[in-house]
């Protein structure tokens, strides 16, 4: 891959494959009726989009997508599945025609707007000429961190990031305390004499498509 043109073609191929996988996954999330398969596919969607973020050099977004999308939200969605049924109700044939039209119109408008966007990495774009250029020039001498986004988040705005992280952590902690997850509710249910959830040996977990 020393030839730059060849490298460009290779990266374009990787982009096409990744975005094609994303397209197929999104389409099947909309079509499949089994909620469990949808949860699994949304995990796949997060993983693939995180890889794509790395390809387009947004490494920090990729980190967040992997931790939140693939890790947390799969578990949260599975927890939500406990409270509801396992399959989507089949709806009428043309019930979603209106929403589909709205989505298609929005998509066309977004594509139309994206024509005006500067090319990826264009040095004359507004993002790269003002403050961004200053950061690019002084970043290495100031911090010695090769990734500019990381140096802005972790060094120039270090206290800001620390505050944000604390706020998010405290919010999560408060929600967990209010809802009483984990050991405390387990201890409560033991005290009340409830039976603990038992493994279902006799009833092998079937897929929801045929278990409905």
């Amino acid at each position: 891959m020393s030839d730059p043109v060849q490298a460009d073609i290779g990266l374009a191929l990787v982009n096409i494959l990744l975005l094609g996988i994303l397209f197929v996954v999104a389409l099947s999330i909309a079509r499949i009726r089994s909620l469990f398969a949808i949860v699994m596919l949304s995990g796949v969607y997060s993983l693939v989009s995180a890889v794509w973020y790395v390809v387009v050099d947004a490494v920090d977004v990729a980190f967040t997508e992997a931790a939140v999308g693939a890790g947390m939200s799969t578990v949260v969605l599975l927890g939500a599945m406990l409270l509801t049924s396992r399959t989507v109700k089949p709806d009428k044939k043309f019930a979603r025609l209106g929403p589909a039209l709205v989505v298609i119109a929005t998509g066309i408008m977004l594509i139309y707007a994206s024509v005006d966007l500067p090319a990826l990495g264009d040095p004359t774009s507004p993002v790269n000429t003002g403050v961004g250029l200053t950061y690019l020039q002084v970043n290495w001498a100031d911090t010695g961190i090769p990734n500019v986004v990381t140096s802005v988040l972790g060094s120039y705005r270090g206290y800001d990031t620390l505050g944000e992280t604390s706020v998010v952590f405290i919010a999560g902690l408060a929600v967990a305390l209010l809802l009483g997850f984990g050991e405390r509710s387990l201890a409560d249910s033991i005290r009340k004499g409830d039976r603990l959830p038992t493994p279902r040996e006799s009833e092998p977990a079937k897929d929801e498509d045929d278990a409905s």
């Binding site: 469990f36 796949v44 693939v48 790395v54 693939a70 799969t74 599975l78 603990l196 493994p199």
Partner: protein, 102 residues
């Protein structure tokens, strides 16, 4: 060479995606998604070398950790239908070392 390996891994991801979509049983889907995560880790590692920045390996390691934890969470969910059960220390769960009581 690394680019060819990357393309091969992406094609493998497509195959695993087909298995996730068709997967007759639930475990097929869990296994397919877990393997998909492994493919993601490999693809990220190779991508770093293809793009000339091998420091992306750190991200690949993070993905490997998240993939492992979420697979364990999914499997635990389907064994107990709950996340509130400790994984160790229960008798009769089919685990090898479940001798202690809660």
């Amino acid at each position: 060479m690394t680019a060819a390996a990357l393309i091969a891994i992406l094609l493998g991801m497509v195959l695993l995606l087909i298995r996730t979509l068709l997967g007759p049983t639930l475990y097929d889907r869990v296994l397919a998604v877990n393997s998909f995560g492994t493919k993601t880790v490999l693809a990220l590692g190779l991508l770093g070398f293809v793009m000339g920045r091998p420091e992306f390996l750190d991200i690949a390691i993070l993905y490997a950790l998240i993939n492992f934890v979420s697979t364990i969470a999914i499997l635990k969910f389907f064994r107990y239908r709950s996340f509130q059960v400790p994984l160790t220390g229960r008798t009769g769960t089919g685990g090898q070392g479940g001798k202690r009581n809660v």
